[in-house]
Symmetry: C2
Subunit: 192 residues, 2 copies
Amino acid sequence: MSLVGYHWLMSFDRDHVLHAAAELLTRKATATMEEVARSAGISRATLNRHFAGRDALVRALEELGIAECEAALEAARIEDGAAAGAVRRLICEIQPCAGLLAFLYSENQLFEGEKQNAGWFRIEERLTGLFRRGQENGEFRIDLSATWLAEALYGLLAAGSWAVIEGRVARNDFTHMIAELLLGGATRRDES
Amino acid sequence: MSLVGYHWLMSFDRDHVLHAAAELLTRKATATMEEVARSAGISRATLNRHFAGRDALVRALEELGIAECEAALEAARIEDGAAAGAVRRLICEIQPCAGLLAFLYSENQLFEGEKQNAGWFRIEERLTGLFRRGQENGEFRIDLSATWLAEALYGLLAAGSWAVIEGRVARNDFTHMIAELLLGGATRRDES
DNA sequence: ACTGAATGAGTCATCCATGTCTCACTTGAA
DNA sequence: TTCAAGTGAGACATGGATGACTCATTCAGT
């Protein structure tokens, strides 16, 4: 049947293509459509058949990033328990798509138009809500705004991804480094 | 005399052009040479007379960024006194060129060639040296590598610049936000 | 007033990424 | 086997950014 399942050929895997594109574009944001196609193991023609232009590809990556972000927010159950633990779980869950987020984060054209994706607002809301909750129950300091903490999390995720890609830090330390710096800071603590 | 001082016309100010380009490219990394020229108040022809192509302009911006970074490192006297205070002074001094750094930081093509500027190595060395000093004298925790702390500083500077540009946080809070988060983290501290 | 240097505006050719199209081939389903 | 869908390779036209060029104008110094 042509309606139920359209999977005669397995050579094109939309999800695989998107992830390959994300992986490449994270390292080289100016990569050619040809390069993106080759990195996914398909031809430029096929890539253009499924994504009408570079812009459409970036938009699809944006959707993917938002979806994975919200999935991470769900999996981390950020509304449960202590805020600090929630942040740790979130960073752990979000690690697989950190590279994609770093690319989207640097793609500032996504945010300058008037038709920006509402998904970012939802994520921003939940994220700032998490930090605000931590501030209200006394876990987090209040002199750093929840908005800034959310923004800093993005920045640290991007910096961490780049550092891992360039081999400056070990991939296994990714979660620990970001979570500890964001939550505890660099200064040594005598308590605990 | 044509050898001593070449400043007959004041209409072209190399430093002003570079700073205008930095300011624009920070917001829109894909800006046209025409747009860059207009943002500096000069024509595209003149821009091309002084910078042979976009690549040369980016390289000049790289040089400017490195120079301002090292100037900030000097002005902050990062070798003096407590490491935490040195970091605060450094962030304060580096604030004016944070936008430029954010742009260069996202221009990953600068770091993939084999002919990358040695200035970054010098800065990286001094920066990691600062954090290592803090670790060795017990100020900073040792489970976060000095390399990562330096990388995180870059990431936070970039995130802070963007947040200011987009109006998410106040420009006056820039130094305080970055320094406090990097040094103290988000978690509330009961000691002073 | 004169001269030379530098600029601004405009034009032109070139390059490169992109999008579209065609055609032969492969593959799964009937 | 037959057929239709999907793919890969290649050719083609297009658009936009870029760099080089010309020419009139402006301005500083003499």
